[in-house]
Symmetry: C2
Subunit: 155 residues, 2 copies
Amino acid sequence: MNKLKDFRHVILYGLLLAMLIFALKWLQWKFVLVDNAIDIYIGAIALFFTILGIWVASHIMKPKVETLIVEKEIIVQPPEVFTLNTSELQKLNLNSREYEVLQLLAKGHSNADIAANLFLSVSTIKTHVSNLYFKMDVKSRTQAITKAKQLKIIE
Amino acid sequence: MNKLKDFRHVILYGLLLAMLIFALKWLQWKFVLVDNAIDIYIGAIALFFTILGIWVASHIMKPKVETLIVEKEIIVQPPEVFTLNTSELQKLNLNSREYEVLQLLAKGHSNADIAANLFLSVSTIKTHVSNLYFKMDVKSRTQAITKAKQLKIIE
DNA sequence: GCAATTTTGGTACTAAAGTATGAGGATAAG
DNA sequence: CTTATCCTCATACTTTAGTACCAAAATTGC
């Protein structure tokens, strides 16, 4: 598109030059007789072609581009996505049942609730919970919840 | 700065014109005698001033300013910032002591710990805790912790 | 198949949590 | 001054949580 536009200007420039050759020839006959007018004639040509040059340049030449970078601040909502801390979870060395119990524990369930949920006896849950406390180095379910959330091993 | 640069070009252009007046006068004496050379003379002037015009244009022309908008993502709230949910806290209608107890409760403290921390008896703590459960509509400290964290009324 | 671990469950006991009820002092609002 | 709310504490009781110790299936790894 730009190349086509440039080419059009070149053609236009060529046509103008052709027309000028005739115009100048005619002017030459007019002014050459009056010897003093040669300066004005030359000046007129100089002025005309200067303007022509400026016009051509302004239409053909690639414009200088100054890039102005404007930084637009976009407010991004904090993701608040839970990312499981796998390394901390591995350190605790909990087996799958203990981890299941911990998750239900943290939801506020009682031992009886957890037992019903997992189809186990309360005795079994108590055993798991005790082992859980030992491994987590805590002494109560509230401490277990607090620590588990701090370590990001549960949601 | 740019205006100064433009002005310098205008001065330069003026000086070049002044020099050309003398050059042309001299050329005029040389070529005017040979009548056929007048066309070459005019052509040379036309060519010269066209190039001059182009040169002037290329130096004076204002650069095009392109505005490039760069989107910069800014995280407004770092994920770990706690913002207290005041409205939810007001709904619960907890008095100051109850709220104090709740905070210590959520840290994993036992009733005895809380009592020692606030210089109160365990009986008092039990009373506060019971009232707390009633107002929060829960049945155990684990549920209280879970709900309080969900409602964002404690850290 | 054997050893190690996991998972399950029990009993017995202690500790802590939670409920119900009452009550006295402090404080603020009407 | 009275009323209401808050804050404190106590007793008596029930429930739940937690510990200690044991033991038997089930599963996994070599």
